[in-house]
């Protein structure tokens, strides 16, 4: 009975957070719903195996995408802690076998958090020719009492593709310590993107590391941050061109929009093959004056114009 209540509460929060409730009920759509350390729902579809093991502090999850499987609908994942306090530790093992293709949409929900810790340790293997798109969106309350610590080690096989987007723009961030490290094999294509909106006393640390180890591997580490009030952020984007004809780029933009804001960007580009090329661009600054004036010349107030610009950057 308690599990049913929690499931319903999670669904309600998931719906409020903009999640697709129909997708969680549809048998043709793979899903996994975890509240705290309880698995409330898991639905496998053809080509996907989901194994879970509840632990004292969270859940161990193993997700397997079978060789050659092309998964029609995105797999929906929902993780959350609804009470004010709690620890959720997700240990995630993903194996996307050769030539498979899948998209996963994760919603992480902590609407009432006062002292909540959400940790994810992911070990992800993308097989040769496989494609994996991972989109993680967080929904936090306004109290900022969450520590989010997602860490992932991703290996992308030959001609494989990885694309991930981590979004935390609803509610207060609290503390974010994002650490994704990716190793790309020959002709792989990889993209890491982080979008966060820091407010009040939020603290954001982002580390995106790309090791382009195979010939002609390509990668992009991108981040978009907007910081208000007294928010602090440090973004480290590192790209290593370790093989011939690798191409990598670090692209960091931090908009500073508060008197107490502290923003840092630390790009690192490293090449140990003369035929590799890695580049970086990092910009920290206030809202672009020309953008502001353009929108104000269309009749928007300064606040409305800032809102439009910020939403665009974080989209």
């Amino acid at each position: 009975m308690i599990v049913v209540r929690e499931y319903e509460a999670m669904l309600k929060a998931y719906g409020k957070a903009g999640g697709n409730l129909d997708a969680l009920k549809d048998k043709e759509v793979g899903n996994l719903v975890i509240h705290g350390n309880e698995v409330l729902s898991a639905n496998e579809v053809e080509g996907i195996e989901i194994e879970t093991e509840e632990t004292e502090t969270g859940v161990n999850v193993r997700l397997l995408v079978e060789e050659g499987a092309k998964i029609k609908y995105p797999v929906h994942l929902c993780f959350g802690v609804l009470p004010q306090e709690g620890l959720q530790q997700i240990i995630l093992r993903v194996e996307a076998q050769a030539d498979s293709a899948v998209a996963a949409v994760a919603h992480c929900i902590f609407p009432n958090a006062v002292e909540v810790v959400h940790k994810m340790d992911a070990d992800i293997n993308i097989g040769d020719g496989a494609k994996f798109c991972y989109q993680e969106t967080h929904y936090h309350g306004e109290l900022g009492g969450v520590k989010v610590i997602p860490k992932a080690r991703i290996r992308v096989g030959k001609k494989g593709m990885w694309q991930s987007t981590f979004t935390l723009i609803e509610g207060c961030v609290g503390m974010l310590d994002y650490d994704f490290e990716l190793f790309g094999d020959e002709k792989s294509v990889s993209e890491l993107l982080v979008k966060a909106f820091g407010k009040r006393e939020d603290e954001i640390n982002v580390l995106e590391k790309l090791h382009l180890d195979g010939k002609e591997a390509r990668g992009l580490a991108k981040s978009r941050l907007v910081l208000n009030d007294n928010a602090r952020a440090t973004v480290r984007g590192e790209t290593y061109g370790n093989a011939p004809f690798t191409r990598g780029h670090v692209d960091c933009l931090e908009i500073v929009n508060g008197k107490g804001v502290i923003a840092r960007a630390i790009p690192l580009v490293y090449v140990n093959d003369r035929r590799a090329k890695v580049t970086h661009e990092a910009a920290i600054g206030s809202i672009d004056n020309k953008q502001l004036q353009t929108l104000m010349a269309r009749g928007l107030s300064e606040e409305e114009a800032i809102d439009v610009i910020v939403k665009g950057i974080l989209r």
Partner: protein
């Protein structure tokens, strides 16, 4: 509709706008022709409220708006399209056109057609660096038309664009006039200036002559092209 009286602005000790008097009539295209550095863009910024003059006044529809903010002027019906339009990450053409007022899909599509951009191809494009200079200027003009302003200040809408974009830009300006907007068209292209009903020649922060476009273009060729005295014109007081 717009009356500028004895406007002066000095920057770094040099008069950039030097006692300028000027009028734009309702629903008409008024061209402003001049070589680089004569203060045309500065005048555009003063009219829009991006910067403020040291002396003189700007009167719009009988109201002194000299100290009004950009937003206040825009809400009265004045807008400006910059020579180098801003680019916006994550903002689609559809959203950009609707930023000033609610528009339905048909209206947005119509405004894009006016500037020669097929809606199916452009509606969901971002107004960022992925658009070429010509495309961006056409989107900018479409957004100005979509606002239905009483006065649109177009700062060199024809500069730096390809030959394919130019007729669409000119078409957009003409359409804007047909919908009842007055246009202050800043240019240094004689070809662009000919769409105007009246043309003024600007030099060293002043209007030095005004009249019918073809006559003024001829006057400009005969006098200004040979002048080269940017900032120190021979025609001071002409």
């Amino acid at each position: 509709m717009l009356e500028i009286r004895s406007l002066r602005l000095t920057l770094n000790g040099k008069p950039v706008i030097d006692g300028l008097d000027f009028k734009v009539r309702e629903g008409k295209i008024h061209g402003l022709l001049g070589v680089n550095g004569t203060g045309k863009s500065t005048l555009a910024n003063l009219v829009m409220g991006i910067s403020y003059p040291d002396e003189g006044s700007i009167v719009f529809e009988g109201q002194d708006i000299t100290r009004y903010t950009v937003t206040e002027r825009a809400r009265m019906g004045i807008t400006l399209a910059w020579q180098e339009p801003a680019r916006f990450e994550g903002l689609s053409v559809r959203e950009y056109l609707s930023v000033s007022r609610e528009l339905d899909s048909t209206e947005i599509e119509n405004y894009l057609w006016v500037v020669g951009l097929p809606p199916a191809e452009y509606l969901n494009r971002a107004v960022d660096g992925s658009l070429s200079g010509g495309e961006r200027k056409r989107v900018e003009l479409a957004s100005v038309i979509a606002m239905k302003p009483k006065l649109a200040i177009l700062d060199e809408p024809d500069s730096g664009i390809d030959v394919i974009s130019l007729p669409h830009i000119m078409n957009g300006i003409t359409e804007m006039s047909k919908q009842g907007s007055a246009v202050l068209l800043i240019t240094h292209s004689e070809e662009a200036a000919t769409v105007a009903k009246e043309l003024s020649i600007m030099c060293a922060g002043r209007i030095i002559n005004s009249g019918p476009p073809r006559e003024m273009c001829q006057w400009f060729r005969n006098n200004c092209a040979a002048c080269n005295h940017i900032g120190e014109p021979r025609y001071r007081g002409a």
